[in-house]
């Protein structure tokens, strides 16, 4: 049974009130004494004004807007209404203490409609609406909600989904009906639920919920690969640590952890206590409607609720929902017969089980649970009536829905929210949504996170963008660290993927991190980190196996004298460059450089080679640069003490001096290119930053060529085409109309027409028409005569040869005769019609000529 005790109480009080009223009436009938009269008068002074309860909702609709199905009921609709009424009466009779059901609310035209027929399963053309989450999000975004007034009573009116879409407003029942229509249309097994929920749910108050965008995705814990114990796995070295000490340490740690955890839970509890909503006087009475999606269809593994106000799913044992009275879809209506005193936790949603769900129509597609015989006997005695009703039901077919097809135009769909904007408040967060292309900079949503519940201390802003020309799709501004992170989609000129910088220092040579789409870059750059004195670059998949490059800069040399502008462009001096390489399998490990360090400030070059597979140490080599290394064209001298080598393998022959010398030369050359590389990187950073500044200023949005509404160029093109077509048409029309043109041409298209000319023009024009009409009549006559002559000739020929004629020929002759007669007849008709119409045409032309702007002034 539903949680109905408070309802019973209110009913009782009403009844007692009624009784008192009756008593008063009884007194009225009695004969009245004077005193009584006076008393009556006195009493009459006491006037109570019963609060006028406006039973009809405030907003009214013009019935003319709606088709007839909205304004009247078909016979079988009436039948169903009666049936529902009957069901309601029996239900009230049997379960006096239960709340009424929402069965036949009125629609926008104040016509009673059965709730099941208000659902119109529809599948719309937008692929976002094919899945339940998309559809629910759309409904939540598209509509603004209205609360039920009062919150503990069922609404009197249920608008159709089409009207709801038009108004972009609705109460929870209208939300659910619309959402259910979409979900059933998309193939889900969805039902509208009528029940009870908490205040937060009914008022769509999410300020105690964590924003779904902030919920961390459950990290897939990589199970630490357990070291497989193979047959010959070596035994680990003996552990010489004291077991006892370890145990003590572990114990101490466990204690500390416990204490910490305790503190933490206490803290959490305190916090939760603080955040608890104030107690609700109407707790458990608030009526709400939502949607349940049962498992089975569309590969839904488990049933769940969908909250229409927020578009989020909740498990069927959610504590936000406190009870269910009834559920319905477009074919049937079920009343919950299960106990809801503990909320919805233990409800079964096997709608075929009629001990738990009382159905309205037996024509359900749910499998009916067979009730054991004994139970049926008991039931038999109790509700004979119901059985009779059931028999009736069998003939009853649910009428088709009265609702017009649900339609959402592409423009409306893209606007998402009323006016394209919607704000939502969450726990310590605010979410603003915008329609695509609404904001100039392409912003579609902004999530602001605060550290307190009053939303005053901002911690972080996340902005999501769409359709931006510069491919920016997300910007995170952390107000505490002042770091800004921008995320870019692939396709930018420099393949930037992510850019992190401090809001205070957006310029070059400051702290920043850039991530790149390495696979799209020629140099395989993956990441570049910068600080004022350092630059670190990471690479991927390079042919020269370089994967890491680190540069240290010194302070800019201070210039004395007047500061000129170019000093800002002076590059920072490079102190040290460090390069790391992956192993190149084509070289011997001992010849393959693993790390190369140019100590520019010390004129040294250090090389570390890769470690051979069987060794643990690696060879190193150090060069001192010759003193004149940076002179151009100078011959570099070389001596043995300019390089030091450590070979891991003492047995290897030492390299020759020539090789060393050549190596030094190539290293010096490499140093040059390496420095150039650093400068290029700096330049690139500068370019990217300039690009960014320009892009931010431009705020251009990328519009698809297929988007004819927004693509200005395409739109213009289309408009042009349309205009051209129109012009063409106009010109044609004009050409047709202009009777005077040939005559004007005869007199040489004068700018101005004199009176004489005008008269002459008119005369000529009319004459011409007259002539043409006569000509036409003559033509018809000529043809008529020709045809008649031909027929007469044929007749004469027939009469001559009639005797020796074959039957076939005779038939051909008769055929010809009838055809000729037909033609003659038609010609005659045409002539008559022409004779009839010609004067009219003449008159019409005269009329038009009189009204012609060029001649009008003279007539």
């Amino acid at each position: 049974m539903a949680d109905t005790e408070p309802a019973v109480e209110t009913e009782n009080t009403q009844e007692t009130l009624k009784e008192e009223d009756e008593e008063d009436e009884v007194k009225d009938v009695e004969e009245l004494s004077e005193d009584a009269e006076a008393f009556k008068e006195e009493l009459a002074k006491i006037v109570v004004h019963p609060p006028t309860i406006d039973l009809t909702p405030k907003e009214t609709f013009d019935p003319a807007e709606f088709p007839s199905s909205y304004k009247e009921n078909l016979p079988n609709e009436n039948l169903v209404l009666q049936f529902a009424e009957n069901f309601r009466r029996q239900f009230v009779h049997l379960y006096r203490d239960r709340k009424p059901l929402l069965l036949n609310p009125v629609n926008e035209c104040f016509v009673e409609k059965f709730v099941c027929t208000t659902i119109r399963p529809t599948q719309l053309e937008y692929k976002e609406l094919y899945d339940w989450d998309g559809a629910a999000e759309f409904v939540a975004d598209y509509l603004n909600f209205e609360t039920l007034e009062p919150p503990f009573e069922l609404p009197k009116r249920l608008l159709s989904p089409t009207t709801v879409l038009k108004r972009q407003k609705g109460n929870c029942f209208e939300y659910s009906t619309l959402l259910c229509s979409l979900l059933i249309g998309a193939g889900y097994d969805a039902y509208v639920v009528s029940g009870y929920a908490t205040r937060e749910v009914c008022l769509a108050d999410e300020s105690r919920e964590i924003c779904p965008l902030l919920k961390k995705k459950e990290e897939i814990k990589e199970e630490a690969k357990k070291k497989e114990l193979k047959k010959y796995t070596v035994k680990p070295p003996k552990d010489l640590q004291s077991k006892f000490e370890l145990k003590q340490a572990a114990k101490a740690k466990a204690e500390k952890d416990k204490e910490d955890a305790k503190h933490r839970t206490e803290e959490e509890q305190r916090q939760a206590e603080l955040e608890k909503p104030p107690p609700d006087p109407l707790y458990g009475l608030r009526i709400h409607s939502w949607v349940i999606v049962l498992h089975g269809k569309r590969e839904v593994p488990e049933s769940f609720f969908v909250e229409p106000f927020t578009g989020l799913s909740h498990p069927v044992d959610s504590s936000n929902y406190q009870g269910i009275e009834s559920v319905w879809n477009h074919v049937n209506f079920w009343v919950n017969m299960q106990d809801c005193s503990e909320g919805v936790q233990n409800l079964s949603y096997d709608l075929g089980d009629c001990t738990k769900w009382e159905y309205m129509f037996p024509n359900t597609d749910k499998p009916l649970l067979q009730i054991p015989e004994a139970e049926e006997d008991i039931m038999d005695g109790l509700d004979d009536e119901e059985e009779n009703a059931e028999e009736q039901e069998k003939q009853l077919d649910l009428p088709p829905t009265w609702v017009e097809p649900i339609k959402i135009s592409k423009k409306d769909f893209e606007m998402r929210c009323p006016q394209g904007k919607k704000n939502k408040l969450y726990k310590r967060a605010k979410l603003e949504k915008f329609a695509h292309y609404l904001m100039k900079d392409g912003l579609v949503s902004r999530l602001s996170v605060y550290s307190d519940r009053e939303l005053t201390d901002m911690v972080m802003t996340r902005e999501y963008f769409e359709h931006r020309e510069d491919k920016l799709y997300n910007r995170v501004h952390n107000h505490q660290t002042t770091w800004i992170t921008e995320y870019f989609a692939p396709g930018r000129a420099k393949c930037v993927k992510e850019h992190q910088y401090k809001a205070s220092t957006p310029g070059p040579e400051s702290e920043r991190t850039m991530l790149f789409y390495a696979e799209a870059r020629v140099d395989g750059l993956m990441k570049r980190m910068e600080t004022p004195s350092e630059m670190t670059e990471h690479f991927e998949n390079r042919d020269d196996f370089l994967y890491f490059k680190h540069t240290e800069f010194g302070k800019k040399p201070k210039k004395f004298g007047p500061q000129d502008k170019s000093s800002g462009q002076e590059p920072r001096p490079i102190l040290k460059m460090q390069m790391k390489y992956h192993r190149n399998k084509n070289k011997k490990a001992n010849d393959d450089i693993a790390e190369l360090v140019y100590l520019c400030s010390e004129d040294k070059i250090q090389i570390t080679y890769h470690t051979e597979d069987k060794r643990i140490a690696s060879s190193t080599r150090e060069f001192l640069k010759p003193h004149n290394w940076d002179e151009k064209g100078a011959t570099l001298t070389f001596s043995g003490d300019m390089q030091q080598t450590f070979q891991v393998d003492p047995n290897l022959p030492s390299n020759k001096q020539v090789e060393m010398y050549e190596m030094l030369l190539s290293l010096l050359e490499q140093e040059g290119t390496c420095m150039e590389g650093v400068r290029e990187s700096e330049e690139e950073v500068r370019e990217i930053l300039e690009d960014r500044i320009r892009e931010e200023a431009a705020e251009e949005l990328d519009i698809s060529v297929y988007d004819t509404e927004r693509n200005e160029k395409a739109k213009k093109h289309r408009k042009d085409l349309e205009r051209q077509q129109l012009e063409e048409k106009m010109r044609k029309q004009e050409m047709e109309i202009d009777y005077l043109a040939p005559f004007l041409a005869q007199i040489g298209d004068p700018e101005k027409i004199t009176r004489q000319q005008a008269y002459k023009l008119k005369e000529d024009c009319l004459m011409d028409l007259k002539q043409r009409l006569i000509d036409k009549a003559n033509l018809i006559q000529a043809r008529f005569e020709k045809e008649t002559q031909k027929l007469q000739k044929k007749q004469a020929w027939y009469q001559q040869n009639q005797v020796n004629m074959l039957k076939d020929d005779e038939e051909a002759y008769l055929e010809y005769c009838s055809q000729a007669m037909f033609r003659i007849h038609i010609l005659e008709l045409r002539l008559n019609r022409h004779k009839d119409q010609a004067p009219h045409k003449y008159m019409m032309l005269e009329q038009t000529l009189r009204q012609d702007p060029r001649l009008a002034e003279y007539f």
Partner: protein, 525 residues
């Protein structure tokens, strides 16, 4: 074309000429100076030019082991020789010489570019080993036989071919013929072969090429099969069951058994032989299957062992590298600090500290090494035990199977004896139905002879089986011994020695470094 011998003195490549050429073509300027003072090893030279030297004979080239490019053009060489040591040669230029025959190139398997332009060659031959050839120039030679070009088909990688200026180029069909038959080339006689002419050529020689292709394919297939068979054979040998897949052992028994062969003719032996053979071959097959199975088990065991060894090694190596890296970081820091210290007492202290750290590093690395040695010792012992167990079970089982063979043979022998005696009686009584041949009849002179014959046949058979058994047992024992020894030597002895040497070398180097640093500093104050 040919230069006269008497105008310039013909020469042979000798030490002086090479030395001079190397110095000329070696590094220049400063590097050249350094190189000269140091001397150049011929083995380091990778490319050498010896042109216009009037060389008649190639010689003294053996020390140029790493030569990849050799130019001997414009000489008067008559015979290709002395190039056998230059196995790394990729590019060889012998143009404008007096060579008459292609030869002496068999060792140059890496050769990609060969130029024999302007010589006196009259036949394409002796180039079977040059499978990597990309570019071949045989222009201005004496080639007359167009069909000889088919020889070039075997160079699958050949892209550029030059045959211009040969007598056969006069023939009308020359170009199409070469294009059609040497189908891999893209360039012929300095020109790119366009699709049309290639199509036309292929069309023209369509039939004969098809046939040739077919033959080549068949040959390829045969080669593949041969290879596959070899692999299989190797596998069987590894399982010590080669020749047990079929009736090989059985036939082997009768191969050296003359009496046995003769006695097959005895009446009633045929049926006996058939069943005997069947059973025998069945057992052989069982041994075969068992052997392969055991072999894969052994392989599995060995690979498991190595896997674990590798794991332990990497783990140990990582630990070692970690220690060294830590030390290196420390070293950098200490050296940087020392650069700023002027107080000698403090410096001494630092040096001492450093040396202590070095010793500590040595301790750590050596401890790691010792630990690894211990670990290996243990698992090698276990592996040895397991391997021996496996070997002995294998031997036991094989012996069991072979004793079944012996039983069969014994049975067979008894039956043979019976038949022989019965036949002897018949022969004696002259009751024999069919005529028997003389060889066999000779055995049936008396009872002793026939019994001797049967017994000797039996002995031969048993001997064969024994031999097989001995062979298998020795081989598996040999393998086991080898494996274990190899492991002992490689893992325990060699690896250990190398590692210890490496550690000591590193430590010495580190000690030296601080000393050098001190010396440097010493000059400072």
């Amino acid at each position: 074309m040919s230069r006269l011998y008497d105008t310039v003195e013909p020469s042979v490549i000798d030490e002086d000429m090479l030395q001079k050429a190397v110095e000329e073509q070696g590094p220049k300027d400063e590097a050249g100076k350094i190189a000269k003072s140091e001397g150049i090893d011929f083995a380091d030279v990778t490319s050498l030019r010896l042109e216009f030297k009037n060389i008649l004979e190639i010689d003294n080239m053996w020390s140029f082991e790493n030569l990849t490019k050799l130019q001997l053009d414009n000489n008067i060489i008559e015979k290709i020789k002395g190039l056998d040591e230059l196995v790394n040669l990729v590019w060889l230029d012998l143009s404008f010489n007096n060579i008459e025959m292609i030869e002496g190139l068999d060792k140059l398997t890496k050769l990609q570019d060969l130029t024999l332009y302007n010589n006196r060659i009259s036949r394409i031959e002796n180039m079977d080993k040059l499978t990597d050839l990309h570019v071949l120039s045989l222009g201005n030679n004496n080639l007359t036989d167009l069909e000889n070009v088919i020889h070039l088909r075997r160079f699958r990688k050949l892209r550029t071919l030059n045959l211009a200026g040969n007598p056969f180029c006069e023939q009308a069909e020359y170009k199409q013929y070469v294009t059609a038959y040497v189908s891999s080339i893209d360039f012929l006689d300095y020109r790119l072969i366009d699709e049309q002419s290639r199509a036309a050529a292929t069309e023209r020689y369509h039939l004969s090429i098809e046939e040739m292709l077919h033959n080549e394919r068949v040959a390829d297939q045969k080669y593949e099969e041969e290879k596959k068979r070899e692999v299989e054979e190797a596998l069987y040998r590894e399982g010590y069951v080669d020749g047990l897949d079929g009736p090989e052992l059985f036939e082997g028994m009768y191969a050296d058994d003359n009496e046995g062969k003769k006695m097959k003719e005895m009446p009633g032996v045929d049926d006996l032989m058939v069943t005997f053979r069947e059973k025998f071959v069945g057992i052989c097959k069982q041994i075969f299957d068992y052997g392969l199975q055991e072999n894969s088990k052994r392989q599995e065991e060995v690979s498991q062992f190595w896997e674990c060894v590798m794991e332990a090694k990497t783990e140990n190596k990582d630990a070692g590298i970690g220690h060294i890296n830590n030390f290196m970081n420390m070293k950098k820091r200490v050296f940087a600090e020392m650069n700023h210290i002027t107080d000698s007492a403090l410096l001494d202290q630092k040096v001492k500290e450093y040396n202590k750290e070095v010793t500590e590093l040595w301790d750590k690395l050596m401890a790691l090494e010792l630990q690894l040695v211990d670990q290996f010792e243990e698992i090698i012992k276990e592996f040895e035990r397991n391997l021996q167990d496996m070997g002995s079970t294998f031997i036991e089982n094989v012996q069991g199977y072979l004793s079944q063979c012996r039983d069969l043979e014994n049975n067979h022998h008894e039956r043979m004896l019976e038949i022989a005696i019965v036949t002897l009686e018949k022969v004696v009584k002259n009751e024999l139905d069919d005529e028997i041949n003389d060889d066999l009849r000779n055995l049936f002179v008396d009872k002793d002879t026939i019994i001797n014959a049967v017994t000797s046949s039996h002995d031969v058979h048993l001997l064969k089986i024994d031999n097989k058994e001995d062979d298998m047992v020795t081989r598996i024992n040999g393998w086991m011994k080898n494996t274990i020894e190899k492991i002992h030597y490689e893992q325990e002895v060699k690896r250990n020695r190398e590692r210890v040497a490496e550690i000591n070398n590193l430590i010495d180097h580190l000690r030296e470094e601080i000393e050098n640093l001190e010396v440097l500093q010493g000059t400072g104050y």
